[in-house]
């Protein structure tokens, strides 16, 4: 029964490769993103403690 499910009517190789590629690439993307954020987490307070300027289309537009 399990082998029949894995075989997927003879197309199992293509189906499982597709799902594996999607799972692997999305997992790598997620962990790379989390790792990047964690690498600067110790300086997050520099942003949090600041009074952030409003973004407008005026002369202030080039500032965050």
């Amino acid at each position: 029964m399990i082998l029949q499910f894995l075989n997927m009517g003879g197309y199992g190789l293509y189906i499982w490769l597709s799902y594996a590629f999607a799972a692997l690439s999305l997992t790598v993307l997620y962990y790379v993103s989390v790792k990047k954020l964690n690498s600067i987490k110790n300086i997050e307070h520099l942003y949090q403690s600041e009074k952030v300027e409003e973004v407008t289309v005026s002369a202030q537009a080039n500032r965050f």
Partner: protein
């Protein structure tokens, strides 16, 4: 006009919502995968390979939609000089790149048992390949160019020029003879696929949207902190 897009709004959203988004993602992904791999019926033509569609189609939709946002954000950033929009675009680009790669790879893996070939240089496949190259160029430029202002300007131009490809991808199946079948789901007409196949497709699309949002919020948070700290 652009006040709603201020950095603090999304920064706070990232802090408060990621945990709940992850819970929604797990439930949606489990339901979507079970429906796609177990309960979805076999297609009379594609047989079991129809199950690849449940990741191929949502990935294609998301990669196109993300590039549309990148293009619009680049335009606003370049014309109205609202820099936060280039941060949105920069944060979204790697997500779009990965989904466009998933679309192309899974499409090829579906194509071999169905069409008899992994690849064909027809309208849809070629325009999708150009989208992947545009994403690679966009992401690479941000990595290569060290001066933030220069990178911002050049990537904004790439984002705007790349927009031309979006309608070409969408209408390629109508404009040219292609191996790729026309869209089964459009915004203007009722879907032509059965509800038993539509349900897993939409749930997988929803799951991928949630995952994209989570990764976007994480990357956006990183980009905002990084930008402000490096500017000091």
């Amino acid at each position: 006009m652009f006040g709603i897009f201020k950095p603090r709004t999304f920064f706070n959203l990232a802090n408060t919502s990621i945990f709940w988004l992850k819970i929604i993602l797990v439930f949606a992904l489990i339901v979507g995968l079970v429906l796609a791999l177990v309960f979805s019926p076999i297609d009379y033509l594609q047989k079991d390979t129809v199950r690849i569609m449940y990741i191929h189609v949502p990935s294609s939709w998301i990669s196109l939609f993300i590039f549309l946002i990148i293009g619009i954000s680049s335009f606003i950033s370049l014309i109205f000089k609202v820099r936060v929009f280039s941060v949105y675009a920069k944060s979204l680009a790697p997500i779009g790149l990965v989904f466009s790669l998933i679309s192309v790879v899974t499409g090829s893996l579906w194509g071999y048992p169905t069409w008899g070939t992994f690849w064909s240089w027809d309208g849809r496949l070629t325009s999708m390949f150009i989208l992947v190259l545009t994403y690679i160029l966009y992401v690479s430029l941000w990595l290569i160019i060290k001066n933030y202002n220069s990178a911002e300007k050049i990537t904004n131009i790439v984002g705007i020029v790349g927009l031309i490809n979006i309608p070409i991808i969408k209408f390629s199946v109508a404009w040219w003879n292609t191996l790729h079948q026309p869209a089964s789901i459009t915004l203007t007409a009722a879907p032509t696929i059965h509800s038993s196949m539509l349900a897993p497709l939409l749930i997988m699309f929803f799951s991928f949207c949630i995952l994209s949002l989570i990764i976007f919020l994480i990357r956006y948070k990183y980009e905002i902190i990084n930008f402000r700290v490096n500017k000091k």
